[in-house]
Symmetry: C2
Subunit: 101 residues, 2 copies
DNA sequence: TCGACATTTCGATAACTGTCGAATTGATGT
DNA sequence: ACATCAATTCGACAGTTATCGAAATGTCGA
């Protein structure tokens, strides 16, 4: 659960964060969610995802919580819906981190 | 053993390969193995790894098989020992792949 | 207020996987 | 041949997790 200084400074991930992200991505549906979010700039509600994935609402919710606690996505509630956004700074930091390995 | 085309051409991973790699990395000990192999250019036998990791031989063997079948490492047997090498072309392709995501 | 809808939480279950000890295979040196 | 060592395979077990249905929570419109 990283804070919010990631907008300005170049972010470095802790070993724990790196592991959490890798674990989160090691799941086909979660990777697909990230892929989808990375392609569309402004998506979306869980419903949108469920339209594309044969998955129960409870399961999707579980995966989203996992991605959120790994720090990869941000979930904001807007009325009935949950807006999901990829945290691109984190993603970038993750890639940089792996590149340094 | 990487073929000639792997050495010259830019390697593209299939979605299956990408998933296999992510799954393989989503395990602390396996990530540590990869990290270790990436640092030392020409390591090493399983024994070397076991010296640094409190892990049973059977467990290590299991993890190595996993890494190998994900395509991340190459195992060649030399006498009693197994020489482990990181397949850097694959690793590079993996990073590139994630960057394109 | 009421009913419909989106999402989360809960509890249970099935599948997966990391772990180890024991037995096995294969190589080396005596 | 034998003993020893490195590594793999096997079988079992424990912990983890993906999955779902059902119930709960929260939101909006009528």
């Amino acid at each position: 659960m990283p804070s919010e200084s990631e907008l300005t400074a170049a972010l470095t991930l802790s070993a724990t964060q790196r592991m959490a992200i890798l674990k989160a991505l090691g799941e086909p549906r979660r990777l697909e969610i990230i892929e989808r979010l990375s392609h569309t700039d402004q998506s979306s509600a869980c419903t949108d995802l469920r339209a594309c994935m044969p998955i129960a609402a409870a399961t999707l919710s579980h995966h989203l919580k996992e991605l959120e606690s790994a720090g990869l996505i941000h979930i904001t509630r807007e009325g009935k819906f949950a807006r999901l956004t990829l945290r691109r700074e984190i993603w970038q930091a993750f890639l940089t981190d792996l590149g340094r390995l």
